[in-house]
Symmetry: C2
């Protein structure tokens, strides 16, 4: 029986199981060490099922990363359309990014492993674009705040990096080997300190 004849819900199930199994194995053992055989065994499917959905291990990996970026982009679209002051919207954006990272912690962990770890032979995927996109959003909100007088005059680049630094470190702390010492409310408090600094005269 080929995959094409499987009922749709079973097809999706196998696809999801493959993505989840690969995510776990890539993180635990590294991309190159995780074999197609192991991924299929962990997902409870045969090799042709993996090839049917993704073409190859590379295809599976790229599909996983594209999926993460799509989710990120769709959430962003939702967050940045919200009304409110620049301060409220920046806090909302950072909290949303923080919550989404915790919700998707295994893939965030894999991204860090690929980005900072030794070369693992994973196909090229521009991981910098997540960070670049966050920086751009924060920067455009900060500039709006300066223009409208909500924030004091100053270098929007320095201000944006201060905000992004707190968001970045808060997410990273969730990946640490110790119990995370930053939670959502710590992040909000950090952002409030920065906003006090950016509105001070």
């Amino acid at each position: 029986m080929t995959q094409k004849t499987l009922p749709k819900h079973l097809q999706q199930d196998a696809r999801e199981r493959l993505l989840n199994a690969a995510l776990e194995l890539f993180t635990q053992r590294g991309y190159s060490a995780a074999s197609v055989r192991e991924i299929c065994a962990a997902a409870g499917v045969t090799k042709p099922v993996l090839y049917y959905y993704f073409g190859s291990k590379e295809g599976l990996y790229l599909n996983m990363m594209d999926g993460a970026y799509s989710l990120f982009e769709s959430r962003i679209t939702q967050w940045i359309s919200l009304p409110g002051s620049v301060r409220q919207r920046l806090i909302y954006f950072c909290e949303g990014m923080f919550d989404t990272s915790i919700e998707r912690l295994p893939i965030v962990r894999l991204m860090y492993s690929i980005y900072f770890g030794p070369p693992q032979g994973a196909p090229a995927f521009d991981l910098d674009k997540f960070f670049d996109r966050m920086l751009k959003i924060i920067c455009s909100l900060v500039e709006e705040g300066i223009r409208q007088g909500e924030l004091r005059q100053g270098n929007s680049n320095d201000m944006s990096w201060t905000v992004l630094s707190c968001l970045n470190t808060s997410i990273e702390e969730q990946l640490c080997h110790v119990e995370p010492r930053i939670n959502r409310s710590t992040l909000t408090m950090m952002l409030n300190i920065i906003f006090d600094g950016m509105t001070a005269r």
Copy 2:
């Protein structure tokens, strides 16, 4: 001729060459993939020379990490004994950490690779202690600032994490795959924004 009979400057030279070669290979290929044979070849020494100085590949790695921690600790001792306001001392500490990280970027890169990368079989070394130590120093300075009225009343933990976040992200940006967008003066500007927020009433 055994190592013991080599003149002292040649001994040190071989030891340094081994540490440098291992650092480069561990980062490029991962700890487990870098063999004693390759490390010795890159350092231009024979295997017994490595065993003489470090006992094993594990010993070499631990020696490298201990060396990094000792340097870190000796610089800290120097930085925290300086006079000045809490603001000046915190900026001095962060700038010093930033400069030292750039000076020793290859080993910082290796630490990130071991910490965030897939398990590479490196012997246990508590990498969290670098971050813990930085947090503790920042926290004690912030508490001093609150006690003496230089900083406003507030949660010293939130304030400390805000400072550490900027230092952390500034160092990390130097490890990125793109041209670093934060330099020493961006870090100082970020810290000034935070200090304005921590002195605001």
